[in-house]
């Protein structure tokens, strides 16, 4: 009986040992926490590029998609014959230089999709601080281009971010629109993205038509109506949408700051 028990124990230990060995024999990849960065006004491009490179390959998890070319365009190597990202970034959007474009595409990736890739990249401001975002921008510029990020860029967005945070009581997804070199439209879009408005409403290429579309909504509704329908979505259900009545959360009044609400309302009212 003792021998039999011993055999059983050996089989169990051997099986466990085999699995543990296999799991240790493969490449070990840890999901790091993005390290907190705090650069001063005198930060050098080299410092930013170095920090950005570590983020890109590590905690930022950028390589998960950018590199395989089946989820997102390659950034460190040539894509579409236009060279790595540092070479092609200035030509992506008319009127935006490389630095502006890279920052905006990190902060509002859905608005800068590259065909034929889908909208899978989250707003990086949820995970990364302003210093981290700028270090990524510097690193990407360094891929075939000239690094133009300076300490002044960091300070301007830090101040903007701090101001936004102070008025909103914290950071996070819902406050995402408060920072970055963005227009009112970009800010409103970011707030709406962060609050999943496009999960039910369509605006241009974004979103789905489950609730009333935002395209041209300013010509159909005035600002007061829009404000009321965000705060109290079930008060008046537009014709044709009775089936989805009750779907929109009634707590946007608690989730949005007054500033965010007005940004959205004015933006929607301008959609004519």
């Amino acid at each position: 009986m003792l021998l039999q028990n011993l055999k059983i124990v050996l089989v169990v230990l051997g099986t466990l040992g085999l699995y543990t060995w296999v799991a240790n024999a493969i490449p070990q990849v840890e999901s790091e926490v993005p390290a907190q960065l705090s650069f001063g006004a005198d930060v050098t491009p080299e410092e930013l590029v170095s920090a950005g490179g570590q983020l890109f390959a590590g905690a930022g998890a950028c390589v998960t998609c950018h590199g395989l070319e089946d989820r997102a365009p390659a950034l460190l190597s040539d894509y579409g014959g236009a060279g790595p990202i540092g070479q092609r970034c200035a030509d992506r959007v008319e009127g935006m230089d490389c630095k502006e474009y890279l920052y905006a595409s990190l902060a509002d990736p859905y608005s800068y999709l590259v065909e034929p890739f889908g909208p899978i990249m989250p707003d990086q401001r949820i995970n990364l601080s302003e210093d981290q975002l700028w270090s990524l921008v510097a690193y990407l510029q360094d891929q075939g281009g000239e690094v133009t990020v300076t300490g002044a860029d960091l300070q301007s967005t830090q101040a903007s971010s701090a101001g936004g945070a102070a008025s909103q009581g914290g950071g996070g997804a819902a406050t995402a629109a408060a920072s970055g070199p963005s227009s009112d439209a970009t800010e409103a879009t970011a707030v709406m993205q962060a609050n999943l408005c496009f999960g039910c409403h369509k605006l241009g290429d974004q979103g789905v038509v489950l609730g009333p579309p935002f395209d041209g909504i300013g010509s159909r509704r005035d600002a007061a109506y829009l404000r009321n329908s965000i705060l109290n979505p079930n008060a008046e259900v537009p014709e044709g949408y009775q089936e989805v009545a009750g779907l929109m959360p009634p707590n946007f009044g608690q989730m949005l700051t007054a500033g965010q609400l007005e940004t959205i309302v004015q933006f929607l009212a301008s959609q004519r």
């Binding site: 493969i26 926490v33 998960t64 089946d70 996070g172 819902a174 946007f252």
Partner: protein, 584 residues
Amino acid sequence: MRSLIGALAALVLLAEPALAQEAARRYGDFPVIGSRAAVWVAAQLHLFFAAFVLGVPMFAVVAEVIGIKSGEERFDKLAKEFTRLLLVSYSATAVWGAVLVFALVTLYPGVWTYLAEIFDVSMWVYVGIFFFESATLYLYYYGWDLWKEGRAKWFHWGLGILLNLWGTTVMFIANSWLTYMMSPPAEVTPDTAPGMVQFWSAFANATWMPINIHRLIANVVFGGAIVGAYAAYRFLMAETDEERAHYDWMGYIGNFVAISALIVLPFAGYWLGREIYEFNQQMGITMMGGFMSWLWIVQAFLIGVLFLTGNYYLWVGMGRIPGAERFQPYTKYMLVVLVLGVIVWATPHSMIASRDEISAMGGQFHPFLGVLGVMSAKNTAVNLMILTTFLSFLLYRRANKEPVVGWAGRGTMVQGALFGIAALVVLFYGVYGYFVPAIVRIGFSVYQVLAVLSTIVAVVVLDVLMLRGATSRGEIRWGQMPPRSQYALFILAVTFTWLMGLMGFARSGIRQHWHVFEVMRDTSVDAATPALGYASVVISVCVLIFLGMVAFIFWVGGLAEKPIITKAARGEGPHAALQPAGGD
């Protein structure tokens, strides 16, 4: 004990409500292994025992009803023996549940407070149902001999059904807490105070139901595997042929239940995966192609072991069935399909690679292995493995039977044709998948799954009809199994347990440095999600503790049983006529 947990929950509910980020910034410290490992071990062991005590009642009631319908007493005995194992494991489940709660309250008080504030109502309901579940279990087990005949037996079976209902409800409630951490509703942000989170939207979050279904099936697999291992141990230690025959049969039933449910499990897994992608594409990518990509290679290796060992057990078992020798030549071909399937399934594809690795491969993907590593090939491989395993079961079932219906020959040909068509459909969509965009290719897996499932259903129906009144080539010689087959059952149990731990790490780990994904950031020293090597050590330690405790519990259960049997058999002692305690 549960009242104590409830009281603790009430205590933390008295705490000041705080925003998610502020709440998280309070952590305790656990010596030597750290807080994360402490909570990990407690949660994993609680889940192992919980899975066992939820899985076992499911097939206890199935075995019992088969016994009632067929009049075969061995099924009733089997159900009762399962339930006895359940009874002794129940307290271990509660103990580890309490350890987990204490660990959370002391080591992660901020997280606990946050969750308790959202889920307080469901926590009290959980405790209430737990009381009902306990009472039902005691009635079910201790009333076994009292309600043995006629209508009373059906009442007793109804208790078993009720026990399952309570258990499933308890699991569903607990699942809502952990799935909320993984997929909180879209309207919840870091600025949302927990008191403002709408209860039902948090409870019925995006991954709640897929996890419920996945765990429900996985619990059956797990329960079957552990019962199989228990039977294997009793078989190896048996002193009489009768005992050996009983435990051989019990081991077969355990393995049958485990492998049958395992066949369905990948489909539940697909659903869960799809919901994760729908909830947050980035989370899905992190899971399948990000830092966890190598985990799926390890998973493929483990599932390969399960398929190969499960089939091996069946093939060895055919040695004790008269007439099975006519099917044995086919096993080598089935082995080839299974081995090839495992090789394809375990082929790496979308891995995080360094610059050196990319240049060594000559590109992002390996020029040869890259073709086999894609989902088209993997889905094809796993569907063919499932078909092959089903064929093993079918041959095992038919081994000693001789159909007498006039259409038996044609029926067998139709069954063969169904297998062939299913394999062709799977292969066709597997190959076609290489020539279409990814979004179209994903839909092909549905056709492959449907082809396999419909074949399984149709072949079983045909088989049942065809074997009506079938003559026997000889009875199965239960107990005449070589010992090596029983070690296969141990390997199955260890592998299922380890796999459950691995998948638990995957589910929890995809949150990365968030307690509640993108709502409550983990700011503790353990915020980074560890690599697979470290995780495997924790999982192995958990499995070892679990199996050690299970062995102890079963041994204690055996202590109460054996002396009485011996005395009763000898006709000795004052209670010689008594039945064994809780026994056979």
